[in-house]
């Protein structure tokens, strides 16, 4: 018995030495793609996965990176922190070189520590929470989207300066993303001192209706509404405001700026403002990617497709430039060499935010989001 145990132990030790070794010996580059691929937030995660797979397919068809094939490992984190850590350890043990993700800021925070420990870089297409880059706690984090405070500032400026609102109601969905946006808007409006915030309130996503809140907005005589949250609640609010004959501007963040909002809100969407990543559809890379997507899937790409695509491009470019998957090399490449992506020509600043990406304001006109110059 004792002998057997020893034998087994030796076997285990040998095995454990072999397993990580195979990771290096393989002639593929593994890229993890983590985000919600199931559940109610899947709509925000799947476009990134599809984008990453498309980039990989293209690169592989052209001979790969540094002569190696790119393999995409999609992982579903359902935007839950505990699942995100599972995913992160899974990706680490699979020996990925870079992770594209995660999609939700909360899940990203949970996973980043694990990547940092394993010296893996994560590039998120959508985690807009400012401290992710600004706190300096996550040196291995990069993103191809601008942080929320930019967006909040833009919304605040737009409402006070362009729309000239004096009494502003800020409504949010109590979520990480929505509340964050609402907080920054509030902060910038208060700092500018040009308008008064008459209402700052959370609503419950999934509540039957928001007519009480709408009445409250009217009661406070607000002349503009800033909303932090996603499109289902936004369309409910907008619909009820219209039903209650309230014709004041409604400004949402990029969680509102998408086809989902247009589809659900329908006629009510007309005239709604939303901030969103700058219009990048003019870039040739972007046009190409969108055309490829449409020909492959027969529909328009979803939310964060551009950012996901760009993250993948940036990651592969960094590998190519640095000539390997070494952490320090990748870091240097990401921060120094420009790369053409679907969101423009970008590189990353010292904190990990992409330079050259930003937000602009859109308005729904004739059933489409149109960028306001």
């Amino acid at each position: 018995m004792r002998k057997l145990v020893t034998k087994k132990f030796v076997l285990i030790v040998l095995l454990s030495m072999i397993i990580p070794a195979t990771g290096f010996a393989a002639d593929t580059i593994k890229i993890g793609v983590a985000g919600p691929h199931s559940g109610d937030l899947a709509a925000y995660g799947i476009p990134t996965k599809e984008a990453a797979e498309m980039v990989a397919a293209q690169v592989n068809a052209a001979g790969g990176v540094l002569g190696m094939q790119v393999e995409v490992l999609p992982m579903d984190d359902q935007c839950k922190p505990e699942i995100a850590t599972n995913v992160a350890t899974k990706l680490v043990s699979e020996g990925v070189s870079v992770v594209i993700g995660h999609v939700c800021s909360g899940a990203t925070k949970a996973a980043l520590g694990i990547y940092n420990e394993a010296k893996i870089i994560a590039i998120s297409p959508s985690a807009t929470n400012p401290p992710l880059t600004q706190s300096g706690e996550y040196p291995n984090f990069y993103r191809t989207i601008a942080p929320d405070d930019d967006q909040g500032k833009l919304a605040a400026d737009f409402v006070t300066k362009k729309l000239g609102a004096k009494k502003i109601a800020i409504i949010h969905d109590k979520g990480d993303y929505g509340k964050g946006f609402a907080d920054f808007s509030k902060q910038f409006i208060e700092a500018a001192g040009m308008a008064e915030i008459v209402l700052f309130e959370g609503i419950t996503p999934g509540a039957m209706d928001y007519s009480a809140v709408v009445q409250k907005i009217r009661h406070e005589n607000a002349d503009a509404v800033i909303f932090g949250g996603y499109h289902p609640e936004a369309s409910k609010l907008v619909g009820q405001m219209n039903k209650k004959r309230m014709k004041i501007p409604f400004v949402g963040p990029d969680g509102v700026k998408g086809d989902g909002f247009l589809e659900i809100a329908g006629k009510d969407a007309e005239g709604v403002y939303a901030t969103g990543p700058m219009d990048v559809s003019a870039y040739p890379e972007n046009k190409q990617a969108k055309a490829d997507y449409t020909s492959k899937y027969g529909k328009e790409p979803g939310t964060f497709f551009d950012q996901g695509y760009a993250a993948m491009q940036a990651a592969l470019n960094a590998i190519k430039v640095s000539g390997g998957t070494d952490y320090a090399g990748l870091e240097k490449a990401l921060k120094n060499s420009f790369v053409d992506t679907t969101v423009g020509k970008i590189k990353f600043d010292a904190k990990g935010d992409a330079e050259g990406v930003g937000f602009s304001v859109y308005q729904v006109q004739d059933g489409k989001f149109v960028e306001l110059k």
Binding site: G39, D40, A42, A43, K174, E201, G202, I203, T204, G206, A207, M208, D209, Y210, S211, A212, V213, Q215, K216, R218, H219, H231, P232, S235, K236, G239, Q240, K243, K244, R245, M246, G260, E263, I264, A265, G266, D268
Partner: protein
């Protein structure tokens, strides 16, 4: 004062919807002492089927009113069928089981139906056509009450009156009351208890489906998850009013709707649900059998 009216109106509209769903809960509970946890999902399925029917009919070129009638009709028929099947599968085999078993089965059914719709249709929100025509009132009424709200209030009131008449004056209504009093006795005097229970589920489901269609066209969007919270709230309303008691369910629903609306209006809508459940706990502590419920002495 005007603000108060506005809030009251939103509270009453919300309360009417809760009432339509709560009636189903209360009827089922009255007869077999079961919280039909999946009742909210019937409401959701009713809304989904109405959406699908309306969508198909629009494509085949039907016009406004006929869509409303057909979609509503088919939705209620299907909801009734689902309610009937639900009882047969998940509750009937558990008629004599310990009390916890059918409740857990009901929670299971609720999860199952939610995810069934998620997988069969979509996890996304869908836009619900506004089946109720939006004819304009004049200000200052317009912003307090629109046509959709009026339709909801009227439909709910009519449905409730119809239900009360049905239970008071028809044969099946009498059988239902007999079963509610004493199932064994009712069976002995020749009431087909199984049929009565099925009818109860069907009636409850029809009311829930009406609620689903109304809410769908009022709010303009639905997804697979709308039934859960609505169901929980409606059940809360039923408990508030005294579960098993039909006027109680309506009263409880109105109290809950108003409480939520005033909480949102005067305090903060972030704590809306806290108030809803707070009212529930408070009433259960002060009057454990609900507002209109009779204190039933358990037979020892």
């Amino acid at each position: 004062m005007q603000y108060f009216l506005e809030l009251s109106c939103s509270g009453l509209v919300r309360g009417s919807i809760y009432a339509l769903i709560a009636l189903g809960y209360t009827m089922v509970y009255g007869i077999i002492q079961l919280i039909n946890f999946a009742h909210g999902e019937i409401y959701m399925i009713g809304a989904f089927i109405a959406l699908i029917v309306a969508g198909v009919l629009t494509i085949y070129g039907f016009s406004g009113v006929s869509i409303l009638i057909l979609a509503g009709l088919i939705a209620t028929i299907y909801a009734a069928a689902y309610g009937y099947t639900l009882e047969k599968i998940a509750y009937r085999p558990l008629r004599n089981a310990p009390r916890l078993s059918p409740l857990i089965s009901a929670i299971g059914m609720s999860l199952f139906l939610q995810n069934y719709v998620l997988l069969a249709q979509t996890p996304d929100f869908l836009s619900f056509p506004s089946l109720i025509p939006d004819f304009g009132f004049m200000e200052p009424v317009a912003h307090i009450m629109g046509s959709a709200e009026l339709v909801i209030l009227v439909t709910s009131a009519v449905a409730m009156v119809a239900l009360t008449v049905l239970i008071k004056y028809t044969r099946i209504g009498k059988a239902m009351r007999a079963t509610q009093q004493d199932m064994t006795m009712a069976r002995l005097v020749g009431v087909n208890v199984d049929n009565v229970i099925s009818v109860t589920f069907v009636l409850g489901s029809v009311l829930a489906a009406i609620g689903g269609v109304l809410v769908g066209s009022y709010i303009g969007q639905i997804n697979f998850y709308i039934g859960f919270m609505a169901g929980v709230k409606a059940f809360t309303a039923a408990v508030l009013g005294g579960i098993g008691n039909i006027p109680g369910a309506v009263l409880g629903a109105m109290v809950l709707g108003l409480a939520e609306s005033f909480a949102a209006g005067y305090i903060s809508s972030a704590y809306e649900d806290v108030f809803a459940f707070g009212v529930l706990v408070l009433i259960l502590i002060l009057r454990p059998s609900g507002l209109l419920g009779k204190a039933v002495k358990q037979k020892v």
